[in-house]
Amino acid sequence: MPRFDHFSWLAPHYDRAFRAPDLARLDELLALPAPGRLLDVGGGTGRISQHLRDRAGQVIVLDESEGMLREARAKGLPVTRAHAERLPFPDGSMDRVLMVDAFHHLADAPQALSELCRILAAPDGDGRPGGRLVIEEPDIAGWRIKGIALAERLLGMRSRFYRAEELVRLLGHCPVRVEVRRAGENFWVIADREG
């Protein structure tokens, strides 16, 4: 039986229902503005990418939900429908990959991380750094986030919240240098592609 697509149902209301992104923090974490290609994985309606498109060479929104992507298209953003576990991009093709509030919806987190690292650009040896992956997630250590996790489960959404340490451990198979930051109810995992 097909799963109920919560996101297509939410799409027309999504941008109003959710908090505005912290653009100053994303600029800092992604080292923007900068040229190069940025992929917004689980970027949905493009609520974040619409702010980033003038801050990177090319911004692409990828999502599983057709309804969400229609909203992003309406904003004039390039979009593609795909799973993070099977990305339609060549090895080393992205300078930046961003995933905000989407990691807990993945069907196969280890496979997705392997794909996200695969598409990161490798350092070119002439001083150009490797690509960077930034994952923002709610910190399940907090009680309010535990409540959200429970609500999503009751709604039948496919959610599994990871602690930052688990995410770092899963990245152990990828050629990246990893850093974790925390603020408020979120954490960020920053992974820089190495050799």
Partner: protein
């Protein structure tokens, strides 16, 4: 229209081979062992492996 910049970079999500744009509506995997075909619907390339697999046995000239 799907932007040329996006079309230039998309590959088959299953085998990562390059794609041919057919009739402005399909992205066809160039790998003869894969042959998956991905539709472009409402300017959104649908790069889901299960979607591409549905059209494996459809000849390119018969794609609608």
């Amino acid at each position: 229209m799907v932007s040329q910049e996006l079309l230039d970079i998309l590959v088959c999500p299953a085998c990562k081979s390059e794609l041919d744009l057919v009739k402005d509506k399909w992205l066809v995997c160039k790998n003869s062992a894969c042959r998956r075909k991905y539709p472009i619907r409402d300017d959104i390339p649908v790069m889901l492996v299960e979607e591409g697999t549905k059209h494996v046995d459809v000849a390119v000239e018969n794609l609608q």
